[in-house]
Subunit: 246 residues, 4 copies
């Protein structure tokens, strides 16, 4: 797989922003797309630099897109000026990046997979459930369901729609939702909110897969368990594999 770092103009941010694309060496396309989100303090390179993700997808006919979500929580933040410091990250991803990837890469027409870790697990579940017309497969690792777990001082009440616990009750009975999975390490501070979210989904009867594993909020954990999320995305997206000959 090749790894490309690309800049493009996002109207939602009012500026150029960056993403990485992992591009297949095999097949002839068009390819399905997986959007993979980073955590707080990380960037678009982190999954590539700190896990073996590129190795795991090396013989998959799949394009992986990794945006730079900064410390936005993949949320639209309202600011006081129209053009300076515009911070609409959700819109950047579901509108601008969606168009950019379809514009420039040889991708197929189906919905995308979406995954991530920590803040990016939160983002994957939130964006996936809010945009079931665009995403068919969700997997969050060590997700910061209550971003306040990690970030006590944040007044998320200012961001409408930030809470996953408020997002899901209205989804009860919906039949068009993406396949939804998440996992958390038993030594992770975020385990309680992961369990709470799992119980809430059970109460609501919203289908999902939840797993706990030994481990903490670490790259060793994410490198090990991204293999499981990739298997789900591969199945839902119908990703082909071709063993490289060299």
């Amino acid at each position: 797989m090749g790894v490309a770092t690309v800049q493009f103009y996002s109207h939602a941010l009012g500026r150029r922003t960056t993403y990485d694309a992992i591009l297949p060496d095999t097949g002839s396309g068009p390819y399905p797309v997986l959007l993979q989100l980073h955590g707080l303090f990380d960037d678009h390179h982190s999954w590539i630099h700190k896990s073996k993700l590129v190795h795991y997808v090396a013989d998959m006919e799949l394009i992986v897109i990794l945006p730079d979500g900064a410390t936005s929580g993949y949320l639209d933040w309202h600011t006081h000026s129209e053009r300076l410091n515009r911070q609409n990250y959700e819109t950047m991803i579901v509108d601008d990046l969606w168009s950019e990837v379809h514009r420039n890469f040889h991708v197929d027409d189906q919905k995308w997979g979406i995954g991530g870790l920590s803040m990016g697990g939160y983002g994957a579940i939130r964006l996936g459930l809010r945009h079931p017309d665009k995403f068919s497969s969700i997997w969050g690792h060590s997700s910061a369901f209550v971003i306040g777990d990690a970030i006590p001082s944040l007044g998320l009440g200012e961001i409408p729609g930030a809470s996953l616990f408020e997002l899901v009750p209205p989804l009860k009975g919906r039949t068009d939702l993406p396949e939804l999975s998440f996992d958390c390490g038993t030594d992770d501070e975020l385990i309680e909110s992961n369990r709470d979210f799992h119980l809430l989904l059970d109460d609501l009867g919203i289908p999902h897969h939840y797993a706990e594993h030994t481990g903490g909020h670490t790259w060793e954990y994410w490198d090990e368990h991204v293999v499981e999320s990739l298997a789900q995305h591969e199945r839902i997206l119908g990703v082909k594999r071709e063993k490289l000959a060299w």
Copy 2:
């Protein structure tokens, strides 16, 4: 010259951010540093991609650093949370990037040059005059002195110290200021505020160089006149040149 794109952790932004470094092929260092700032809608790559800057510095023994200022105006923006969406761009540059460059590159101990265009011209003049302990040579091209010229809706009153017209009167009589120059195209909408700033500096007796040239707010203008700003930085920083042999 080689061009490196680097990410580093900035405490002021609470996250990783990116800069480009143009690195010399000649000499043995340590090298002086020029910080070159981009305009609104551009990024750390824009000077490199849209002008011949790399060609102009090809035989100069100089490291050029190009940060990503987003649409910040190179200002510290105050936000409601401690870690999510932190936006202190001035501090990112004068504290974090300053340390990062000294940490990892073979740079000398003198003050840096600082330049830029439009929003980056504003940033260069503002940061240079606010931090005369760190910058010795300033050159702004087509500077957005009143950011409101370009961005009418911005309430810059919320950003203390944003106004260059309020910044300079207290500097009257100071003898430790950087060499200060700026230019503007006669077809540029920003020409009036450039003239106003020039007149204010004259009134205050603050030494500076101001030039007007035919041209507008375009890359043709910046590509032509960055040669003049490089000549000033070269002189003030004592940059050596070595003609490449191949």
Copy 3:
């Protein structure tokens, strides 16, 4: 435009190699392709870093691909081992890179434009004329027609098909050739071989456009005259333009 640096596996080189892609911000694709080749001592970044090429194509609905031709002359070099140090650059470009770009990017089905400077002008004319099934528009700047002009010690007799002067006589009367243009500076050491090639084409009755301009073998010359080659490629490839709104 965004600029992506991508690596991919080339069977012709037996290894991963790198190219840059300039990707449009406008339109929705599929896009035509221009392959732009660098000169000796340069690499895939050189057109991007040392000219305003990215600026010139900023509102063009076009993907520009810039391979790394090393010092190969874009030729297949025969080596003594099957896998170590394999150096088949012509095959890398016309087979492997051709497939890679069609595999991963949103490109249309038409033939490509091809251009370049110096060694890359030679490569553009040679590859374009040898592969008229893949290229429809050729423009060489300051082309090293006789590579020996620049590189006296090279025994190019060892590379079958290296000579452009031997390549063109058999093409007399062919009606499927790409649009062919080239230019050279009157202060360029390569001017005599450019004139010789122009006269040979005239003698053979092979349609072409040849121009001479003031200037030497410099980036100032290439930055100025690449505008003319882009205009030809734009016309032949039917490139659309959309003025960016921001």
Copy 4:
């Protein structure tokens, strides 16, 4: 850590070539250097993209340099022309890259560590033992001691000094050699030549560390065992660690 991709001009190759640099987020330098080499079919990105190397060095005050060795075996290949297709990779690394890193990065004056896998393990051991004035710590993983194991058709007799089995006998009794270690997986086709080299060193009384582990010629093996080579380089180079605060 930040990861920079840099191009520089190498006289030994007669062209620009590329390397990656992993740069510390901690400490203030100057830093020790580890040169880490890739295998056949890989490039300067492979250790970064396919293992967790960046994660492992994240709190180490160390600069890791990863050159692009192409399929050269890190050898000087003799070619027929002076400037076209020049292929002196050993000289590129020990002369040109050595100078480039000292020129541009904030590195200390001590010798470097050198490591690698497969062709890069061979290269690390060969370059380290041939240049004990520049390297103090060597570790080869799954090294292709007899490159012919992997590449039967290569006539390495044409490359003077290519054979490690011919290199080491004259080193008997030398007291200035780098710390020398290597390991191999018991399912790796290269295990026999690793054992042969180990026995030869034993016969010669040349101090070294050799280990075998379960596993094959895979990134799972290298990702697991690079931790051990890093520990040796850390010890020999006196690398400091600082736990990042965020």
